[in-house]
């Protein structure tokens, strides 16, 4: 199974295996990783599963849909490497992905 690394704003590192087909958001929720709220449950409607993706990975990921970019406008402290983790679907290509969780989701 692909390994995904979540780094909290307090620099705590959570490395977990996430099944293919789940989203990076679901991987965090199912493994009780703090800091990803996912209030709307993956509907791209709330921007509370916001993460920062390290630069080399950011360019490898499938591009954002317009709706995701619109929602990121609403996120807490968005940056150029912001993504919504509910839109990142885990596959073998994402093995080793590292995401940073912001200090707050709202």
């Amino acid at each position: 199974m692909p390994k995904i690394t979540y780094i909290t704003s307090a620099d705590k590192i959570h490395e977990v295996e996430v099944e293919n087909g789940l989203t990076v958001m679901e991987g965090a929720v199912q493994n009780d990783i703090p800091g990803i709220d996912a209030d709307c449950g993956g509907g791209m409607a709330c921007a509370t599963c916001h993460v920062y993706v390290t630069e080399d990975w950011f360019n490898k990921l499938p591009k954002k849909e317009d709706g995701e970019e619109d929602m990121i406008d609403m996120a807490y402290e968005p940056k150029k490497n912001s993504r919504l983790s509910c839109q990142l679907i885990v596959s073998d290509d994402l093995d080793g992905l590292i995401v940073n969780i912001p200090s707050k989701q709202a």
């Binding site: 709307c40 709330c46 317009d66 970019e69 406008d73 968005p78 150029k80 707050k104 709202a106």
Partner: protein, 338 residues
């Protein structure tokens, strides 16, 4: 003060159907919601998204579901208190004293929390300093646009609210419009208007910028905005407006003495009652072993909580289970029989 058999917090699908169930069994109820409209998450987050798992409704959107639930309430007379948040719930003898953000007071034996993921509140600016200016020179909604006349207003956001207010206020104020990227997601015609106003010098446009600091003692004097590339610019301004949509916050519910874990309220599965007698939680906000966050589960939970309310609201009467197909009592309440 309003006396009622049951007060429902939240006008989403679960709250609406719970109101239906209360009225059907002969109890009266009032509904409070912090949004300006009925429908909760269905109307605020996904009005156009299709839902496929409502029993006997193969497909409907959040808006259609809401409208159908409102239609189902037509036989009944129910007061909705919108744009109000329940701030306080406390015990007064054997009743609950409930106070809203609008200082409305309810006295009721039953409070049903159908609050979803919490109440919708405006998303705020990240810098901590913003708090002390809030509602003085920094706002997330506009209540009286006249205060901005002749002043400099810095508006943040890229959606319709930000753009509409930029256009409107540019008539009588000096407007800075600041957005984190080049594209705006507002209506095309409004975006065109913004560009026209910017070309005419009526609006100062700063894209790829975000708020990094606010400066001032009592009132805001200036703000610092930071460009994607790191450059910081100081803008003189009298007012700051932020339009970043709404976010769900548990808010005051956390202070009512309920068992809350991970923003969910623990309930039993007979009455959906919390650890406080006469306070129930239904829908997405409640938790119990096996809980599913489905709208249909909310309907079931509301139906059972409504029956539990009967006992406290009518202690001297016996609740009798009846079917709407056959009960003349229920048919009368539904307006189908004289």
């Amino acid at each position: 003060m309003i006396k009622t058999d049951a007060l429902i917090i939240g006008a989403g699908p679960t709250g609406l159907f719970t109101a239906h169930q209360l009225k059907l069994i002969g109890l009266n109820c009032e509904v409070v919601d912090n949004l300006d409209k009925i429908g909760g998450q269905c109307i605020e987050l996904y009005p156009d998204k299709p839902i496929y798992d409502i029993p006997a409704v193969p497909e409907c959107t959040g808006e259609e579901l809401t409208n159908n639930l409102i239609n189902q309430l037509k036989p009944f007379d129910i007061n909705f208190h919108l744009n109000e948040r329940v701030d306080e719930v406390k015990k007064e003898n054997d009743r609950w004293f409930v106070k809203t953000s609008n200082n409305k007071i309810f006295l009721t034996p039953n409070v049903i929390i159908a609050g979803g993921v919490g109440s919708f509140e405006p998303r705020k600016f990240p810098p901590k300093e913003c708090e002390k200016f809030e509602n003085k020179s920094l706002f997330y909604t506009v209540k009286d646009k006249r205060i901005f006349e002749g002043k400099t207003v810095s508006i943040f956001g890229g959606g319709d609210s930000a753009l509409d207010w930029a256009v409107e206020l540019s008539k009588k104020s000096k407007v800075n419009l600041i957005h984190r990227r080049d594209e705006f997601r507002g209506a095309r015609s409004t975006v065109n208007k913004i560009n026209e106003l910017a070309d005419a010098g009526k609006i100062n446009l700063f894209t790829k910028n975000q708020l990094s600091n606010v400066n001032g003692s009592d009132q805001i004097q200036s703000i610092d905005i930071k460009h994607d590339e790191g450059e910081i610019k100081k803008l003189e301004t009298d007012y700051v407006l932020g339009f970043f949509g709404l976010i769900m916050q548990l808010g005051p519910i956390a202070s009512w003495g309920l068992n809350i874990d991970k923003k969910k309220i623990a309930v039993d599965t007979e009455k959906f009652e919390t650890n406080q007698k006469g306070i129930y939680a239904v829908g997405d906000i409640c938790s119990y072993p096996g809980k599913l966050k489905l709208i249909l589960s909310g309907f079931h939970e509301g139906a059972l909580a409504a029956r539990a309310c009967f006992k406290l609201a009518r202690p001297n009467e016996k609740y009798r289970f009846e079917f709407t197909t056959t009960s003349s009592n229920l048919l009368k309440r539904l307006g189908k029989k004289d």
